[in-house]
Every structure is written in structure tokens, then in C-alpha cells.
Amino acid sequence: MKLNVKVRRYDPESGKPPYWATYEVPAEPMDSALSLLLHIKWHLDGTLTFRKSCAHGICGSDAMQINGENKLACSVLVQDLVKGDGDTISFAPLPGSPVIKDLVIDQTRFFEKYRAVMPWLINDTPPPERERLQSPEEHAIIEDATKCIMCGACTHSCPSTWADPDYLGPAAMLKAYRYTFDSRDAGSAQRLPIVDSKDGLWKCYTIFNCVQACPKEIDITRWLSALKRKAVTAQY
């Protein structure tokens, strides 16, 4: 079938404001959305710019807004986006961060926030000879959160982040959860005050946009709520 692919284009070097470009692209129902962009880049217009690498939803490069929803281009198929021949698919950059060019956004801030939550295991006791033990049940508490690929689909779907760019956002706080609830971690005292602040947890109004956007189907809001409860019990 043939599809109309609308892409939000922007090149600051050209001096032109952002605009929608439309391309006619041949496609099969089982093609990924990424393959449409690759077709444009390779065969129609080499200037079209987007990030990609693994092409199967594990590297987190190609989160973007597809038909108005934040998704990984490589992990969504044409058949799930259109009904048939001649239909339109739109691609735009993730909302809420500055656009570098076309579908490429500036992730500096996104990763700054990740770094801010001390995203590493804190445990100053000397490690044992062998692995630290952790029961399957303890592991299960964090397993869902360890699936995160830091694609940014969640944080860039969150109205709290759009309103307040300083808000740490779901991805960073999920990292905080992943380490704070790791049975091997002893860093709550350092990490919790960072998320228990005006930039942190309390701006999560349980809107659930992040959960809907997450390509790894992580129950983000649930884990952030657990983190909130932990922050409260840690205080009082």
C-alpha cells in the first residue's frame, strides 16, 4: 500500500520555522514505522534526520510522537497505525525538549535529571566474597523498573514536565525507585531527599500519561507511588 507520511521538519540552519512535509511511501502492514522514515531518508530525502540504532526497541534512540502519541518508531507497526491505502501517519519530535533538527531532540536536560537522582547502587559495607544475596521476591520488586531503556517517551508525555521543565519526571524518578528499592542498596538517606523535593515526586499528579507512553510497559506510576510512600515513612 501507499501511505502519506507527514513529518514535522525543522532545520535551524535554514532559518525557516518548523513545517510539515508530506511524503508518499510504499509500505507493508508488517513494516515498522521506523522503516518508513528509513525509506524517506534513503530514497526520497537524505536530509531527513532522526536517531535510530538497534531497530528492535532496546536502545531507546527513536522515541518520537507518532500520530500524536509518544512511541518507539521501531516498535510500532504500520498495521497498528493506519487502516489502509492512502492513510496518513504523522511523525513529530517528542514534545517538551528543544528540537535540534527534525525528529532529533536535545536530551541534555533529560539526562541531567537522570544524573541528579544518584542513579547507582549505594552500599559502603565491604562486599562479600561472592554475590550479595537477593531473594527472587526482592528482585521482583525492582525487575519491572530495570526494563527502562531511558527512551524518554514517558517524561516527554508528562504534563507536569511540560509545565515545569525542572520537574525530574518519570524516567529519572523510576531510576531512583530502581535503586532505592534494591534490597542491596543502602542509599535512601542520600537519594530520597532529592526526589522528596519541589522538583520531585510531589509533582507527580498520577496522570498516567507515562504509563501509557512507555514502550516497555512499565507500571511507572505504581513504582513512583511506592517511592512517595517511602519518602513519607522516611520522614515521619
Binding site: D11, P12, E13, S14, M30, S32, K41, W42, H43, D45, G46, T47, T49, R51, K52, S53, C54, A55, H56, G57, I58, C59, G60, S61, S75, L77, I100, K101, V104, Q107, F111, R115, M118, P119, W120, L121, P127, E129, R130, E131, R132, L133, Q134, S135, P136, E138, H139, I142, E143, T146, K147, C148, I149, M150, R178, Y179, D182, R184, D185
Partner: protein, 580 residues
């Protein structure tokens, strides 16, 4: 601009980050330069596991691991290096655990281990549980944890900087690299005492591959262009179970958990070829068997694939132990592995060959001991050689972390030893060759687009240099590559801008691809025997008398090349016929 650091590591996958972390902990000033953001590296795609004789599930011994690796390598892996790797693996994995890698656990709370192809107990008796894993996201969790640790330890990251050239002094000392900053289009010089390549694999030279779009073998080509050799490039691993047509990997862990390969008659054909380990035979063998089945008309519906049957292992195992591949099958094939078999075919997966190094990651120019001052390589782009002619599943991640760690420690030591020396002087105008290269591409207005050249390259490599090869196909491939080299020099890009010009980088990468593709094809033609993943139809036997040796490929960058030989080190295990 010129940036100055003790150590510059090129590439931020598992190998690069491991080296960076240990070098940093050793007190050195470390910069990691990567064309992708570190978390986008392909180590994140590694699914099934990382092998180590921890013995958490049943008795295991590093020597058994070493034996399996040697046998898997078809006796061409260097046994001293293999011993180091298998002995170091348990400790390194325990260290990773201490760093926070969220491994799956068994009932006692220890790291959970499962079966994997080619890993056996007691020197080949029966499959053993050796693959430590985090569901089927092992590489992902390792990559993320290592990045977290590097951030903690203030490793300096230069993200989305693509290295295009290696800088050396006239006396062959390493003094830095030249990199293109993708965001701004600026060229930068990195001045360093030590450069370490960790740029990963080259699967994108083949039409069907499990590798990322970024897997274009840059590091290998850059080193090759400096007159340094590449070792054992003819050994290319095809993983038996890639999703049909897409090449997306279905981990060997699927067969480790009980999956079975079937042909169009529903027959479990691996029983015929490998009666002891059956579907868990090593990859080279399974891929060759699948191709044979297909050639003999037993592909499914006469097409070029077979079935991976998981229907009997149960929904519980699929959802909890293999969640990712369950999702892949559903998303990309519209198939529910709980109910239907998955269509699979071999997919280009791993580079056994690469930049020759010693046990500490130091690059060697020719024979053992001929180290290049200040130059290191680790990970998939390097060849230690522990994988020989065929890598066992789970052994790449082991290779990354064990030799990444060793190189990191060694580099920190070297910086310590050389702390009173100044950095070797940079050449005059170090950026000139890179600038000329880029200007030439940008100023060209007539020519083919990159995709035309790349598609033809991938096609000829797939048709002529994949699982089975012979004199005729390889001659054809080399002739094609000769033409492709010319075409790659004349590609034209439409994007002339400075900002995030990925098309320009594609144009540079196609040049790299031709260079190392030639090393693969020429090496395959040179080696007139069949060994491991290198299967010559015209020389079906292994020939230890002539070929129990490594090949070193040197190129003049113009299509002229020559070979050198390197001895294989044998310590405990004398070459035997390889049967499973």
C-alpha cells in the same frame, strides 16, 4: 577544538564502559567518546546471558568452561587467553553484581544460571547451567549499570562524537583521535597518552543481521587504515535463530529453556546432526544445519526458514524467562510463541575476528609482543583471540567484561608509570585528512546515494560470504568489493548542513564497510579449509596441518592486501575432531 585526557576510549558499549570504569578507579583521567549515547550501544541488545562457572545451580568448573570455549572455537582460540577469561569470569561477574547489576536470582538468592549452546559439564558430557542472566535483558542491565557507575565515578563522556581517525606519531606511538561532533558538525582533536577502541561489531555489512544500524565496524577500519592488521576476519558468526527476514535475534536462551528447531516435516532435525546436545549445539553448526535443511527442500513452505517451536515450554516460562522475545515475536511477526512456532533463519551476528590484542587489550602489530605503544582494543572489535572460529553464546559479554576490566586496570597502571612523561606530540594539522575527507563528500554534487552502494555491499556479502562459501563466491565477492570501493568514494549526500548531519556519517561509514568487508572476504578466500563458522564447500575438512593458525590481514586501503600468520597457543587441549 583540542581536548586533552590521559585515556580516550572510543565506544561506550559494555567493553568501553568496563575499561573506562576500571581505568577511572585506577586514578586515570578518562574520556569516553561515542557516536551514540552510551545507553544506545548494542551491548544493550544482548539477551540470553553471560557465562561463568559460578556453580550456583549445579557443579561447574572454570576448566570445563575453558574446554567448551576451546572446542567451540574449533581449536583455534588461544588457550592461554581462554584460561584467563574463564578463570576471571566468576570474579568479574561477582564484581558486576556488587556494582548493582540486577541479575535474576535462584531460590537461594544467588545469581540464576541457565543452559546455553555449547556449554557442557565435565568436558562435553551434558549441558550445564552456566549462563548468568537478567531475564532476557542481560546486556541491557549490564550496560545500564556500568553507565550508572561511570557517571558516579565522573568519567568524562563525549556523546555523539564519531571518531574518524587515529593519530600516531611518526615513530608509531599513539597520541589521540580525531572526532566529528555530530551535533555541531565540528571536528575535534583528542590528545591522549592512550587510545582504546571499543567500537563493537560490523554486522551491518550483511543484509540480514541482528546488529544495530550503528554496527558498521568503524574501529576496525580506522585501525586497518593505519597499516595495522585485523586478525581472523574470515570467521563471521551467523546466529541460527533470527526472525525470518528481519534478522532480529531470538536468543539461544530460548533453546536453553527447551525450544526445539523443526523443519517442514515437523522433524527435530538437530537430533540427526548433534545427537548429544541436539538443539543446543554451537551456533556455527546449527546455522549450517538450518541452511542444509533449507537447501534440501525442508524449509517451511519451501521458503528459506525453519521453525523454532516453543509451544511446549509453557506460557509461564515464555512470559517470565523470555519476555522480550515473546514480545518481539508478537510485535514483528504477529505470532504468539505460546501457541505457534516462530519462523527463524540464520542472521549475521558476531565478529570473531578483529584488532589483534594481548591479554591486557594492548594492540599488536604482528607477532605476539609487538605491541603498538598506547593503543588498546577491547570488546567485539578486538580479537584476543578467545572465540577462535566460533564464539559460544554468552562468551561475548564475558569477553567484554573480563578483558575490558583487564585493559582498564592495565591502562591506569600505564598512566601511572608514564605520569612524568608528557603526552606524545600531535602531528601537524592532525585534522587535515578528516577535513579533506568530509569536504570532499560535502562538495560533491553528482553521484550515487549511499544507500545504493550499501545495499549492493550487503547483498554481495550475504550471497557470497555468509554461512557457506567457496572459491567461486568469494572471488565474486572480492570483484564486487573492488567496484564497490570505487563507488563508495563517489557517493553524494543531499544534506550539506553542519547540524546533526547523519547522512554525512553514513557516507563515511560506507568507506569503512568496504575496507573491513574486504578483509572478511579475502580472509575467507585465503583460508582453504572449513573450521567453525568458516565453512568452505570446496574444502569441507578442517586442516590442522596447514591452518591451525591465525591470519593477519594488512591492507593498503586501495584494494591491495597481504596476509601474515600467527601461531595458535595450545596449553591443555590438543585439537580433536569436534563432535556434539
Amino acid at each position: 577544538m583540542t581536548f586533552s585526557h590521559d585515556i580516550v576510549i572510543v565506544g561506550a558499549g559494555g567493553a568501553g564502559l568496563m575499561a573506562a570504569l576500571y581505568a577511572r578507579e585506577g586514578g586515570a583521567d578518562v574520556a569516553v567518546v561515542s557516536k551514540l549515547h552510551p545507553l544506545r550501544s548494542h551491548t544493550g541488545a544482548a539477551q540470553g546471558g553471560i557465562g561463568a562457572a559460578l556453580g550456583n545451580e549445579e557443579e561447574d568448573h572454570w576448566l570445563w568452561h575453558a574446554f567448551d570455549t576451546v572446542k567451540g572455537s574449533d581449536y583455534i582460540g588461544d588457550q592461554d587467553a581462554i584460561e584467563i577469561m574463564c578463570q576471571d569470569a566468576p570474579r568479574t561477574i561477582v564484581e558486576l553484581e556488587h556494582y548493582g547489576v540486577p541479575f535474576s536470582r535462584n531460590k537461594q538468592g544467588k545469581i540464576s544460571q541457565r543452559r546455553f549452546g555449547g556449554h557442557t559439564r565435565n568436558f562435553g558430557e551434558a549441558p550445564v547451567r552456566r549462563a548468568c542472566h537478567a531475564a532476557d535483558r542481560t546486556g541491557h542491565t549490564i550496560l545500564h549499570t556500568l553507565y550508572d557507575q561511570c557517571v558516579k565515578n565522573h568519567v568524562r563522556f563525549y556523546d555523539e562524537f564519531q571518531v574518524l581517525d587515529l593519530l600516531m606519531t611518526p615513530d608509531g606511538e599513539t597520541c589521540g583521535v580525531v572526532a566529528y561532533e555530530i551535533l555541531t558538525g565540528e571536528i575535534h582533536t583528542f590528545h591522549a597518552k592512550i587510545v582504546c577502541f571499543a567500537t563493537g561489531g560490523y554486522g551491518r555489512a550483511f543484509k540480514t543481521t541482528s546488529n544495530a544500524h550503528a554496527g558498521t565496524g568503524d574501529g576496525m577500519a580506522i585501525v586497518l587504515r593505519k597499516g595495522l592488521p585485523l586478525e581472523d576476519m574470515e570467521f563471521v558468526q551467523f546466529h541460527p535463530t533470527g526472525l525470518y527476514r528481519l534478522g532480529i535475534l531470538i536468543t539461544e536462551g530460548a533453546r536453553g529453556e527447551g525450544g526445539i528447531l523443526r523443519n517442514n516435516e515437523g522433524e527435530r532435525f538437530m537430533e540427526r546432526y548433534a545427537p548429544t546436545v541436539k538443539d543446543l549445539a554451537p551456533r556455527d553448526l546449527v546455522s549450517q544445519c538450518i541452511y542444509k535443511e533449507i537447501r534440501e527442500g525442508r524449509g517451511i513452505n519451501g521458503k528459506e526458514y525453519v521453525h523454532l517451536d516453543m509451544t511446549h515450554v509453557g506460557e509461564d516460562v515464555l512470559l517470565h524467562k523470555l519476555p522480550e522475545i515473546t514480545v518481539f515475536s508478537r510485535t514483528y511477526m504477529g505470532i504468539d510463541p505460546v501457541k505457534q512456532p516462530i519462523p527463524v533463519a540464520p542472521t549475521c551476528h558476531y565478529a570473531m575476528g578483529g584488532i589483534p590484542t594481548d591479554h591486557d587489550g594492548r594492540v599488536e602489530r604482528a607477532q605476539r609482543g609487538s605491541t603498538v605503544p598506547g593503543l588498546y582494543a577491547v570488546g567485539e572489535c578486538a580479537c584476543v583471540s578467545v572465540h577462535g572460529a566460533n564464539r559460544l553464546g554468552t562468551n561475548s559479554l564475558v569477553d567484554l567484561v573480563v578483558f575490558g576490566r583487564r585493559a582498564g586496570i592495565r591502562m591506569a597502571q600505564e598512566i601511572q608509570d608514564r605520569r612524568n612523561e608528557p603526552k606524545p606530540l600531535l602531528p601537524d594539522d592532525p585534522q587535515k585528512p578528516t577535513r579533506d575527507l568530509l569536504d570532499a563528500i560535502l562538495s560533491r554534487t553528482e553521484g550515487e546515494p549511499v544507500v545504493a552502494v550499501r545495499t549492493d555491499l550487503q547483498q554481495t556479502m550475504m550471497d557470497n560470504v555468509s554461512v557457506f562459501r567457496n572459491e567461486e563466491t568469494l572471488t565474486q565477492a572480492l570483484a564486487d568489493l573492488k567496484a564497490l570501493r570505487e563507488r563508495a568514494r563517489r557517493v553524494v549526500v543531499r544534506d550539506k548542513g553542519k547540524r546533526f548531519n547523519t547522512e554525512l556519517m553514513d557516507a563515511v561509514e560506507i568507506g569503512f564497510m568496504v575496507d573491513y568487508a574486504e578483509a572478511i572476504a579475502a580472509g575467507a578466500k585465503y583460508r582453504t579449509e572449513s573450521r567453525g563458522a568458516h565453512s568452505r564447500e570446496d574444502y569441507p575438512q578442517r586442516d590442522d596441518e596447514h591452518w591451525l593458525k591465525h591470519t593477519l590481514f594488512y591492507s593498503d586501503g586501495q584494494g591491495g592486501y597481504e596476509f601474515g600468520d600467527k601461531k595458535v597457543i595450545i596449553t591443555r587441549f590438543q585439537p580433536k575432531e569436534r563432535k556434539y
